[in-house]
Symmetry: C2
Subunit: 473 residues, 2 copies
């Protein structure tokens, strides 16, 4: 298999940042490279300065001594053709154009300038990411475009027309333990487009899950084919921006995209066997279980550990999400009765542990039975924090032991550590927040997907079951 053209440009030995300065957004592209520890040379390019971020600055790309593999451009559009010509002359492989104000303005001259950029780049063998985008995040190569992007690498790949969306997905999924192989913000998709990024991730051995935020596709047939091929080998999650009439207008002024008919989009995604989501929260929720849980291939859910009203609502939300909350199997009841449990006939699925007050072990015992029972395809496990602050120290090890199912089951286990209202007492609130953070860290360390409520957990699980149901065996 030949090397994918995107792969050709994302391993630069040297990066030039055109328009770099010690203030403003241009400088902002140098500091994330420094923060992540990019190993090659960094060349700021700006005729106004002698140095930027402590590096010698050059007036033009052509003035840089030695080879330049990759250029980040944050100069104004008015000077962009000169920059492209310089890149051609320096045999630059790839250019990321943060530079904007092209076709997305809706203006004729700006669109014509954009076309000229593409013509010169193609003629000169320079490939483009963008314009009007944030570019590349590639932790293994120590390349980032925002400060604070995680240094660790992972197996989730992301391509998005919006840079803000990349920041949000990497950030929100990151808080929940997900790490990325690469992420691309690609804006107006002038050269490489959604199909290229999708095909790239499909063949990338370091990417197990593909996430995309797309405002419009240039070539619907090619995209449908690429999506089908991708979904056949790894889960693909698609968030489509510009679904209604106002959103369609907004995509035009954002990335000059033709949003296309929503119905065609939805059916294309589903027929290809990919997962269709409608907001970033849902996209991240699906990514979390794809990243951490074994494949969720059936809809029979065991739900354990809610209490009272939350158990009732857990049942409702699971069913409304498309899971089946089947009754507690009779053999589990019989076993509980044999063990002398006083609630063997009362407890059900969802298993409301609040009715077991006084019998602290019933929860753990029952949860393990549910996790092992063949009638269930997955277990949704409510994890609790301490009830409130008392004189005694909270024993986190002992507390977490009751949720430890390692070695008990190979089924998907999804943890719900529910948000609860902040205490009005600031000390108690801080104490609880600190313990909550520790509990979430323990759950992540155990490799569990964690959700703040059962509705979101159930909807994510159901989307994933849908993927495995549609995928050709």
């Amino acid at each position: 298999m030949s090397v994918h053209p995107i792969e050709e440009i994302i391993h630069p030995r040297t990066i030039a940042v055109a328009g770099a300065s010690d203030s403003g957004r241009g400088g902002g592209f140098v500091s994330p490279l420094l923060e992540l520890g990019f190993k090659g040379a960094i060349y700021p390019v700006n005729p106004k300065y002698d140095t930027v971020s402590g590096f010698k600055a050059y007036a033009r790309i052509r003035d840089i001594p030695g080879p330049v593999d990759y250029v980040i451009s944050s100069i104004p559009a008015t000077h962009i053709l000169e920059l492209i010509d310089d890149c051609v002359e320096k045999k630059v492989k790839g250019v990321h154009l943060f530079t904007a104000r092209f076709s997305e303005t809706g203006r004729k001259d700006a669109a014509e300038l954009e076309r000229e950029v593409l013509r010169r780049a193609r003629a000169g063998n320079v490939r483009l990411i963008g314009p009007n985008c944030m570019g590349l995040y590639y932790p293994e190569e120590r390349i980032a475009f925002n400060e604070g992007m995680p240094r660790e690498t992972g197996t989730v790949g992301l391509a998005s027309q919006s840079g803000q969306v990349v920041g949000e997905i990497v950030g929100f999924a990151g808080q929940r333990g997900v790490r990325f192989s690469k992420a691309f913000s690609y804006g107006n998709a002038l050269d490489f487009n959604e199909c290229d990024y999708l095909e790239y991730f499909t063949q990338d051995p370091k990417t197990d899950v593909i996430l995309m935020y797309i405002e419009g596709a240039r070539d619907g047939q090619r995209f449908a084919k690429a999506l089908k091929e991708a979904a056949a080998v790894k889960p693909v999650v698609i968030l489509k921006g510009g679904r209604g009439s106002a959103g369609t207008r907004a995509t035009a002024s954002h990335t000059a995209s033709l949003a296309g008919s929503l119905k065609i989009w939805e059916s294309t995604v589903r027929q290809a066997g990919a997962i269709y989501v409608t907001d970033i929260e849902e996209l991240v929720d699906v990514a979390v279980s794809l990243n951490f849980a074994p494949p969720i291939t059936g809809r029979n859910a065991a739900v354990a550990g809610g209490s009272g009203g939350s158990s009732v609502q857990a049942a409702d939300q699971c069913e409304e999400a498309g899971l089946r909350v089947i009754p507690l199997p009779q053999d589990i009841r019989d076993e509980l009765k044999a063990q002398g449990s006083p609630i063997w006939d009362w407890i059900g699925n969802p298993a409301d542990f609040s009715i077991a007050m006084g019998d602290e072990t019933i929860g753990t015992v029952l949860m393990r039975m549910m996790a092992q029972h063949p009638a269930f395809d997955l277990l949704i496990m409510f994890v609790h924090g301490p009830w409130r602050r008392t004189g005694r120290e909270f024993d986190l090890d002992k507390h977490m032991e009751s949720y430890n199912l390692s070695g008990v089951t190979r089924k998907p286990v999804i943890a719900v550590y529910a948000d609860r209202p902040r205490s009005l007492d600031e000390k108690e609130a801080a104490w609880y927040q600190n313990i909550s953070n520790q509990i979430e860290e323990r759950l992540l360390a155990a490799g569990l997907p964690v959700y703040p409520n059962v509705g979101r957990a159930a909807r994510a699980a159901s989307r994933i079951v849908g993927y495995y149901e549609r995928r050709p065996q």
Copy 2:
């Protein structure tokens, strides 16, 4: 108008807590009364102790000298009849039965005991809240059932079969500035039921908005009538627990409710003109705008201040919620052009302020125009935090001034202060959290409903428009 029977029992001069102790849940009912500062006498009742929480304890209710108006019972069900007899003898007006293990266990003898409790209470002229519930939260009377319930009173009334749900709604809505007139957790609804609480709130002059969490109704016709009468005079929001088959099983074991057909429920609620929601988050979201915004009576939304991908998604989510994100009116465009704005032809609705980089005033100018323009029924306003920490101190006053629309419009304005990923740098994360808290406090102090994303804001607004559309004029 005669005094409502619920009103008769919720102004006690004295409260006895049966089963009180210095540890466990019984004691838990004394401490919230102390914390809120209940002004009457508190009598712990427990034959095992001489004192509880520093108060003299009595062996039985009948031993208490002087009148007892209200009793909270947390004794086991096995002793409940004796307690009821004592209450009759002491001429107690109201009893809250935290005591559980009645009909919700599904057992015949427990259900028979429950019926006997009701017979004796009725015969003795004692009214009951519960059993199997958390009872009354009434800040004006300094009565609460959990520690940390707000001391301030408000105009939202809440009745819920689940005590946990009351805690969550009071807590989550409380964090967003909502305060309550009264809240009832009423469990198995043995004496007062959902109709009584609803009728009570309908006639209560201190309640402007009614929230209910209901697992089942005993008398569907009476409930439909009460709901119609309530919704005709004030907004009513209904969350129905037990919507599917598993949820129905769960309501039976939680509060012994017959969940009823979901379709009948949904159509009953809608035909009555009440607002139907499907989870606590949505219920709280609707309550926040009902509490803070003037009536939202039309669907034409102005959406201002998003950027790039977030503007596209704001448009999608508003439209999917049932709002109309109409194009920017031509006279606003003309005015921007006359003022010399370089983006008069490019900016739209949603108004993406990120394209105005360099012109810091355009956002404020345009937002004010949108807020005043007759084509719009409401304004959804993105509020931002600082981009990141810099050497300069963040000027909160100046920052918030650009969002100040007081005196500019009487239209509903909904603020979206979007969650953003936590920084990996702990210092920066703490700094940002601190500023975020201050921004949210300022928005609350300005009387604005605040949401963490535009989808939730739009769905809440749309539910409220639906209420005013259906309400007879």
